[in-house]
């Protein structure tokens, strides 16, 4: 089962094409990280999924319903926390919880109390007087209290200090284990995605460059320090499975799915040392390789 499925999605704003031919499958129950540079279209994508924006082309489903045909009841099964959530600033935290709770059909007041306790949010304080970290935590607490089947988070935990960040991720991970719950998040923080997500997709140049289970993808690729004379560069670049070749101090830094033994076969190569990739290495190898 997929929580989100998109095929050949396109989004234009006037003359600007933000997404073009984007395919995405988010498995139900996964914690899925969307990576991409600023302006890559990650937020646009989430807003299309929420029904705030209409795609210019392509099709897709959210929780099994066709995109753009989500009813109010469907939407109640989806929660979205923007990068900087806006609240009623003059309400006290406790009043805001009661207010949202009265409006939302799936609100779980016991869960809300648990999240407020977990984050130690002050119920008597006005929302406008909360710290940045507390606002971010309040946004998550409100979203989780609606028991969403699909939770979408735009840049979660950004701007949190290490203590608040850890607590935030712990609460998120604990709540994500709920059966049937899918989390789709965007992040610039590659470490956060590698740590908390099981799947990821890299959005770059208007489409998905690579997507799938994080561990499998990282283990199918490697970075190799290749000792070889400068004129070997072109041969290395044209080797199947090589995505990026950078000049290093003692030779080349080669990234891709190619195996060390395949690289050793290239004429001129004297030595190859392979090492694992972090998600950050992988990210840069795609973004830099495409210029």
């Amino acid at each position: 089962m997929t929580a989100v499925s998109l095929s050949n999605l396109r989004k234009r704003f006037g003359r600007l094409t933000v997404l073009d031919g984007l395919d995405l499958d988010v498995p139900e129950g996964s914690i899925y990280g969307l990576l991409g540079l600023n302006g890559a279209g990650k937020t646009t994508l989430l807003r299309i999924l929420m029904g705030f924006l209409h795609p210019s082309g392509g099709e897709g489903t959210v929780l099994g319903r066709p995109l753009g045909k989500l009813t109010a009841a469907d939407r109640a099964r989806v929660a979205y926390v923007p990068d900087r959530p806006t609240f009623y600033e003059n309400m006290r935290v406790g009043d805001l919880l009661r207010f949202v709770g009265a409006l939302h059909p799936r609100w779980d007041a016991n869960a809300a109390r648990r999240f407020v306790d977990a984050f130690e949010l002050p119920l008597e304080r006005k929302v406008g007087a909360l710290s940045t970290g507390m606002r971010t935590q309040l946004g998550l607490a409100l979203a989780l209290s609606t028991q969403p089947e699909l939770l979408m988070l735009d840049e979660p935990a950004s701007g949190l200090d290490p203590v608040h960040r850890r607590r935030y991720l712990q609460v998120l991970l604990e709540a994500s284990a709920e059966p049937g719950r899918t989390v789709l998040l965007t992040s610039q923080d590659l470490g956060l995605v590698e740590q908390t997500c099981d799947h990821f997709a890299l959005v770059h140049e208007r489409r998905i460059q690579v997507a799938g289970p994080i561990t499998e993808i990282l283990e199918s690729q490697r970075r190799m320090l290749v000792q070889a004379p400068p004129e070997t560069g072109d041969a290395l670049r044209s080797l199947p499975g090589v995505r990026q070749v950078r000049d290093g101090s003692h030779g080349f830094l080669v990234t891709g799915t190619a195996l060390p033994d395949e690289v050793r076969q290239v004429a001129g190569v004297r030595a190859v040392q392979a090492e694992g990739l972090s998600l950050e290495d992988l990210f840069w190898s795609y973004v830099e390789a495409s210029g």
Partner: protein, 139 residues
């Protein structure tokens, strides 16, 4: 637990978890019969995806470090039983990491090798090592 995650190291997070539990067994910090935290508990504590902990535990089970009797939890069995090939591969991987680090620091392979020989001789950080003529060093 005392497990530390470095998400920039290039080592898969499940490997980091498995390696640190294995090291704790080798060091005698964890002993046969000790109970490890459940998957969800450890995932939340480390703030990592639960599938990562499942994968780490599965790898430890395969090498005989832990057992996971269904529904009863996760227990330490003993030191890892690695096949000869696996032991060799791990040593090679460690060597590649060492040489890679040396290269990044701007040392040549032979300088790195000399440093390794010094470490073997127990003179790892003695600056005047060359002159002091221990048995294993300085020909």
């Amino acid at each position: 637990m005392w497990i530390r995650i470095d998400s920039h190291s290039g080592v898969a997070i499940y490997r980091q978890i498995a390696a640190q539990i294995e090291q704790a067994v080798l060091a005698g910090v964890l002993e046969s019969g000790d109970k490890l935290p459940g998957v969800r508990e450890l995932a939340v504590e480390l703030a990592v995806n639960p599938a990562t902990v499942v994968k780490a535990y599965d790898e430890l089970e395969q090498t005989g470090v832990i057992e996971q009797p269904r529904g009863r939890g996760t227990f330490i069995l003993g030191r890892p039983k690695l096949e000869e090939r696996e032991r060799r591969e791990r040593l090679q991987a460690a060597a590649a990491r060492f040489l890679g680090e040396a290269e990044r620091l701007g040392f040549t392979a032979s300088e790195a090798l000399r440093e390794l020989q010094r470490a073997v001789a127990g003179l790892g950080d003695a600056p005047k090592a060359d002159g002091e003529g221990e048995d294993h060093d300085g020909r």
